[in-house]
Every structure is written in C-alpha cells, then in structure tokens.
C-alpha cells in the first residue's frame, strides 16, 4: 500500500466550477498525483470507497436534510476536511436564495404548481461548517488554482496552510492598477480577502468579495473611502451579499 495521503473529492449544491479548476491544473495535476493517492472523485473517475480519507475536499453548499447525512458520514471518515470554493465556505452565491422569507415561495417561483413534490424540497442554504467541523477553508468563486496547489503541497508536507489576511487592495496596488474608485466604480477591494491576485480589478471590473472579507476588516477606512467618493454604505451592502458575505459595515 502507498503511504501517500488518501484524498477524496465530493460535491454538493454548486456549479462544480471549483473542481474544474483542479482539472484545469492540467500537467500539474499529473505531478500532484505523485504526492497524493486520489481515491474518489466522481466527476473524473469511476469507483467509490467506503474507507477513510486523510483529506476530504468538499465543494458546494448544503441545501437539504439528505445532504447533511451524506456530509456527516464523510466527516466521520475523514481525518482532515477542507471546504473549498465559496459555496462550501459560506454558501456562496446560493445564499442569495435565503433573502426570500419563505422557502415555499422559492419553490413556487421555479416549479410552480408542482412545487409540493417532496423531491423538490429545499431549506435555506448553509455553508459546510454550519453542519460539520471544517479544518481548512479555500475561498473564492471560483478558487484560485495556484492557491489550491500551494495548499495541497503544504498539507502533504504535514503543514497547516494559512490564508492571506490582507485586503485585495494590497495586491491591486502591487499590480499598479489605477484605483477603480478613481474611475467612478465602487469596489469591495478594501474589505475583501486577498489571494486572487486582485484578478477582477486587474481586468477592469470591481472586486465583489467572492473570497469573503479579511478577518477584521478596516471598516473606518472603508467609510472614509465611501465618503471621499460620495457613496453610501447601502451601495456596498447591495454588492457584498452577492457571495454570501454580510458584515456590518457601520461607522
């Protein structure tokens, strides 16, 4: 038997775009297979096991009781459980559904008169850690491939990887981008967690905090920026819940 860590991938309610980022590692994934023993990954391989895993990667949000049972079973069999992708981290974009007061209305909106059927049941979206203990988070919508690769390497060396805890603005400045506020565009860079290489502002589009916020966002600085450019807190609150983030940005 191999002494490489046994790794498995699972997905719940999501677009599976994050596992696609893993597939998109191309030749690097071949090298990664030297470090880990891939035992279960439904989208790319046939075969499943009921054994234990050293690392279980969970993608997607939890939206039904039946998902909870499956997730708890995986947790019991996993030494380390990683929530990867924003849907797993906090429910991500699927959390927008929770703005509706009644799940019956949500079901009716999509399935109409058939919404009573039991298999169409749903509850307000949860992140993985609202159901089981999570050991490590890899945020982003989608995840950043290089960050994923770094984290898997570190895990395979027995190290617990850390996430950057500075705002996207830092990476944006390093790229020498013109600040989007100066171009008349409202941007969540001052609050959002870096690690994406400020990919959206670098492509001329505002940061939407798809990686969540830093642990302790500098709200005062955000307020100063909003005042300087004549925006209101309400205007950023509208955007910041796109990916399930909802910090209280008060003065």
């Amino acid at each position: 038997m191999s002494d490489k860590p046994k790794v498995a991938f699972f997905d719940f309610a999501c677009c599976e775009g994050c596992q696609l980022q893993v597939a998109n590692l191309e030749e690097d994934i071949i090298k990664l297979l030297d470090l880990v023993d891939l035992v279960e990954f439904r989208e790319v391989m046939t075969g499943s096991t009921s054994e234990t895993y050293d690392i279980a990667f969970i993608e997607g949000s939890i939206t039904r009781k039946s998902d909870e049972k499956r997730l708890k079973d995986i947790r019991e069999r996993s030494k380390l459980l990683v929530a990867y992708g924003q849907c797993a981290v906090n429910g991500g974009i699927n959390r927008l559904k929770n703005i509706w007061h009644s799940m019956d209305d949500v079901k009716k909106c999509v399935y109409g008169d058939d919404s009573y059927m039991p298999h169409l049941d749903t509850y307000p979206t949860k992140g993985v850690d609202e159901v089981v203990k999570v050991d490590l988070y890899i945020p982003g919508c989608p995840i950043n491939r290089d960050e994923f690769l770094r984290m898997v390497k570190e895990l395979s060396l027995g190290k617990i990887p850390r996430l950057p805890n500075h705002p996207v603005c830092v990476e944006c400045k390093l790229k020498e981008n013109i600040c989007l506020f100066d171009k008349g565009v409202i941007c969540l860079g001052p609050l959002a967690r870096a690690g994406c290489g400020a990919i959206c502002p670098s492509n001329g589009s505002p940061c939407e905090a798809c990686r969540g916020t830093v642990d302790n966002p500098n709200k005062n600085a955000m307020h100063e920026i909003l005042d300087k450019y004549n925006y209101t807190v309400e205007e950023i609150k509208r955007t910041i819940n796109l990916f399930g983030v909802n910090p209280e940005v008060k003065k």
């Binding site: 677009c15 030749e27 075969g47 999509v110 059927m117 298999h119």
Partner: protein
C-alpha cells in the same frame, strides 16, 4: 423467459452533477426503468430577483462552472434585449471567440477525460497517463490552450470577468492575440491526431439507434453558436427565440429535480449532434473532413453515441472560427467602449448554443433596471427526457446482454449526452434493480 436484471447506479461517475440509473426487470418484464436526477435544486430564478441588470450575468454564470461563458453570453443577450442595447461588432466578435473557447474546453474535457476512459476500458483518465502518455499530453495541451483562450479574452477561465452588458472591461493585446493565433494553428494538427485516436477506439460504442427530433439554433451566415433562430428536424419554418416557451414545453416529473422538455415528438435532443444534423452544411471544409472520417453522414445521424463524434468535429470548427475571429480583431484598432445604457423596464430573451445545446435566459426588469422575474432553460434538462426515451428503446433490445454489459452501455449512453446536471437543476446517478 425468466430474465432478471437489477441495476442500481447511484451517482453515476464521470458526468457533471448527480444522476441515477435504475433498471428493474422481473421474469423478462421491465418493472422499472428510470433515468433519475436527484441533484439538489439551486433556485437561480429566485436568486436574481431584486438584483440590478448589471449583476445578472455575474450571478447566472454560477449556474455552471463548465458552461459559465455560455450562461454569461445568454444572460448579457437577454439583458441587452430587455433594455434595448445594441453591441458593437468588436464586442460581438470577442463574445463569439470566448464562446468558441468554451466549446473547445468543454468538448475536450468531455470527450477525452470523461468518455475516452470507457472506450479504453479504464475507470478514468489517470491510468492512461501511464499507458498512453502521448495521447494524454496531447489532450492536456489542447485543454490548456482552450482555457488560456478564455483567460485572454474573458479575464478568467471560469466565470468570465471582462464580458459585461454592452461591452468588455478590458481588451486583449495584439501580442496575446498573435500568440493565440499561432497556437490555434498548431492545434489543428493536434485535433487531427486526436480524431484519429478517437476513431481507433470508437468501435467500442454500442450499436444503438433511435431517431428523435433534433433541436438547435440555426443562422443564415454560419454554423450557429452565438446567434440564430430556433429550428428542429420536424418543422419547416424557424422560430424566434422569443417564442422559446412554446418550443421547450418544460414539465416536472417525479424522478427528477430537473425539468424535462418536449416539442413535436415524445422527446427531442439538443447538443452537438442536433447542431450537426441541422447545420452540417455550414461547417468548414476541415471540420467536414473530420466528420466524414468519424462516420458522420451529411444528413440526420440517429445514434445518440454519435454526439461524441460531433463534439470532436465541433472542436475543429471552434479552432478554425477562433482563428478567423482573431484575424478580424488583429485587423481592427480595438477600442475600449463605454455603453450608453438607458435603464428602463422591459423583458428580453437571450439564446445561445452552449456545448450541451440550446440555452435560453429570459429576464424582466422594472423601471429601475431591477430584475423582477427570470427563467433559464438549460440544455441538459432538455435532454433528460430523450435519455429516458433512449433507455426505453435500448433496454428491451439489449436484455440478452450480461447485466454488467447492459449497465455499461446505459452509463455510456448518459455520458454520450455530456449531461451537465448542476446546470440542469440548476443533475446524474445509475441504479439497476433486478
């Protein structure tokens, strides 16, 4: 006859999303035969209500990681139709290029990573790394190229950043376009090699035919992806995408969280084979040559497994069209555009061909440009009913096969459609019961 079959494939592998196959045969009578879609529904139509027109593509792109670009294009087209926004030739060409990048990416991923393992009788692409290293490297090279095309044009491989309502927020540089063009030219030869590999193992597909209605976009000027009217093999007059509801006729069934569709027959098929059957005469000479090599006739092809051959053909087409789009872009002075958007109420439909078939987004906005209603019709949904109908013809024909072989053929059938189940519930598993 006392034949008993019990097949129960839960969460079919090598498909995007969760699906089950259930076959229950007692004394030679089929008691249960279902293609089931248990994927958790995600309710995107509710998520967009209350959001601004400028946010819709960001949200609906997340319906699917594999076809996020197609969703982005359909979304932008629907919003632009609702708000009466016209786009420039430059923006249209960039979007088409992005869409071809996704078609190439998705078809390579599907045919090579998900289908070829069946034909080589292995459980995934991983054992092929050791047994067929040159083929795997060829595939990763093509897949990387398609992803990098999407990076250069859309700013990111999955969930494009630059494509917005009425414009692009950043444009590719001359050097980037030149380099892409060079690599795409090289890819033509690589695709020819890939088509030869595919042909060498395509005897592994089961012998099964079932004629159905084939539905896709069609466009006067070219093999339709970005623009066109709705056509099928059963109608004489094309239909405007605005009339999509009368075409797709979605309905809910107990075995699936994804909706089903039907039009002039009990079911219809969408995707690469439907596009090929409807529009093959508009393919480029090289893609027609590959079609002939892979046994696709210039007419109606009725084996669902031929969808995979049609995907290979479309890869070649996507590469050739991408080259001509890049040549056009290189001949222009590209400029940053600032769209003149007048926010108003309105309703609009956007239809595009994505790797798995025809996709519709339909949005309604209020006076402030806030979305009040949305409907997304997903190609994988449209195929679920056709998969079920294929099962119903195939299982009686193949009952004499060992159970294991029957199960394998059914799994391959589902994979042939390249279902994208996350998408369709906004779903795949196989269960066989005796």
């Amino acid at each position: 006859m006392s034949k008993e079959v019990k097949i129960n494939v839960r969460h079919l592998t090598r498909v995007e999303g969760h699906g089950n196959i259930v076959v229950d045969v007692k004394d030679g009578n089929i008691e249960k035969l279902e293609w089931q879609v248990p994927e958790a529904p995600r309710f995107f139509e509710t998520m967009v209500v209350g959001r601004a027109y400028s946010e819709l593509a960001t949200i609906t792109s997340r319906i699917c990681g594999i076809c996020s670009i197609g969703h982005t294009c359909a979304s932008l087209k629907a919003t632009e139709a609702a708000l009466g926004i016209n786009i420039s030739e430059q923006t249209r060409v960039l979007r088409e290029l992005l869409l071809h990048g996704e078609t190439l990416q998705s078809h390579i991923l599907h045919v090579c990573y998900l289908v070829l393992p069946d034909l080589f009788k292995v459980n995934s692409v991983i054992p092929l790394i050791a047994s067929h290293p040159d083929a795997v490297l060829l595939v990763t090279k093509l897949h990387r190229l398609s992803n990098e095309l999407c990076d250069v044009i859309g700013g990111r491989t999955t969930h494009p950043i630059r494509a917005k309502v009425g414009h692009f927020t950043m444009l590719p540089t001359w050097q980037e376009l030149e380099e892409l063009k060079r690599r795409l030219e090289e890819a033509k030869g690589d695709l020819l090699k890939l088509a030869e590999i595919f042909k060498s193992v395509s005897g592994g597909f089961p012998d099964f035919n079932r004629e159905t209605e084939y539905l896709s976009l069609t466009y006067d000027e070219e093999y339709a992806f970005y623009d066109g009217q709705v056509t099928t093999t059963d109608i004489d007059k094309n239909i405007s995408p605005d009339e999509y509801k009368g075409v797709v006729n979605e309905f809910v069934v107990p075995q699936s969280t994804a909706k089903y569709g039907k039009f002039n027959r009990a079911s219809f098929m969408v995707g690469a084979l439907a596009r090929y059957n409807n529009n093959h005469s508009q393919l480029t000479p090289l893609s027609q040559q590959i079609a002939e090599m892979l046994g696709l006739k210039p007419g109606i092809n009725i084996s669902p497994y031929q969808n995979n051959a049609a995907q290979v053909v479309e890869c070649v087409f996507a590469v050739e069209r991408s080259i001509s789009h890049i040549e056009w872009l290189l001949g222009q002075e590209l400029k940053m555009e600032k769209p003149d958007i007048e926010v108003k109420n309105g309703q609009g439909v956007g239809a595009v061909e994505v790797p798995r078939g025809i996709l519709f987004h339909d949005y309604s906005y209020n006076d402030d440009g806030i979305c009040v209603a949305a409907n997304c019709v997903i190609p994988t949904n449209l195929n679920h009913n056709n998969i079920q109908m294929d099962f119903e013809k195939m299982v009686p024909e193949m009952l004499s096969l060992p159970e294991k072989d029957l199960q394998f053929n059914l799994e391959m059938l589902v994979r042939a459609y390249d279902p994208c189940i996350s998408c369709s519930t906004h779903f795949l598993n196989v269960e066989f019961k005796k």
